[in-house]
């Protein structure tokens, strides 16, 4: 049985070799058509032009992108510079000028037990018992 397998394997190998040989004969060396060299040189020339063309194109794209981003940033920043300062007086002045009567009324309405107020006011000692 093994011998038969070996034999068939060997036959397959031989047949495959023969097939490769036939394939080689079926694809002989062929010479190029008369257009081969002109077309090749056209491609070479086109390849030479491509980098310069691409560089120019990229340069234009970069210049446009730079101009557009500068314009965009300036439209965002210029109005904010032109706007006046938000706080024209100091914080202390604002507090001083604030109406303190309302605060007093609010505080008087709150009637908390004295003990709770003291606990709230007294600093925490860290003793939780």
């Amino acid at each position: 049985m093994k011998e038969m397998q070996n034999h068939s394997g060997a036959t397959g190998e031989h047949r495959l070799d023969a097939l490769f040989a036939q394939y080689r004969a079926a694809c002989p060396d062929q010479d190029a058509s008369s257009n081969f060299m002109p077309q090749l040189w056209q491609k070479i020339d086109a390849g030479r032009k491509v980098p310069a063309f691409l560089f120019r194109r990229w340069a234009k794209v970069c210049a446009f992108a730079t101009a557009a981003s500068a314009l965009f940033i300036s439209t965002l920043l210029i109005p904010s510079y032109q706007r006046g300062p938000v706080y024209e007086t100091h914080y202390v002045d604002v507090l001083f000028n604030a109406d303190s009567k309302e605060d007093a009324v609010v505080l008087s309405e709150v009637t908390l037990p004295r003990v709770i107020l003291q606990e709230a006011i007294a600093p925490h000692t860290g003793d939780w018992e």
């Binding site: 190998e13 047949r15 023969a18 694809c27 010479d31 190029a32 077309q39 070479i44």
Partner: protein
Amino acid sequence: MLIEFDVIERARTGDNAAFNQVVQAYRKRILGTIARLIGRPEDVEDVGQEVFLRLYYSLDQLRTAEVFEPWLYRLTVNAAYDYLRRQRRRRESRMSDLSEQQVMMADASAGGKQRTEEVRRTGIRELVQSLLGNVSPEDQMLLTLKEVEGLSLKELEKIYNINENALKVRLFRARQRVLKAYEAGVAERNSAQPSPAPGLGDVK
């Protein structure tokens, strides 16, 4: 070498006439190799032009003229590989396809009057390409260079920059896969058609 070293050196320095000489010296051989690597005669010139285009733009990277031929082969293999990768459809190597080709080959070999030699060649090309479709494009290249082009392991070593043992292992595996597909095709053909027919199982 098909050309003098000094011509290659001149081509390296940008001499277009020398480059023309190089192309003309190697054109036939390279186109033949490409034809066997890709198996499609109609696209051979395009791939060939791609090879020489790459050669033109990378000739200045060639260290010495002595390694020109393996280097040109490498460019050829790469261009053919790129072509195959582009063209390769995920065709499972269906044995029904092989059988059709087998029938075509059988017809061609049996009825020479009806079928031309070109049809027979086309059948063989398609059959081998279909079998080679069972391995990756890289192994397909390698196997074709070894089995069809007849390059030695030393030459392949120079082209691929891989050591000989690794090449042997890779070649062996690729060949076994192709052989398996081939034998499966033969077996299927024999089971489908009791009487032995020439063609796939009877290549001589």
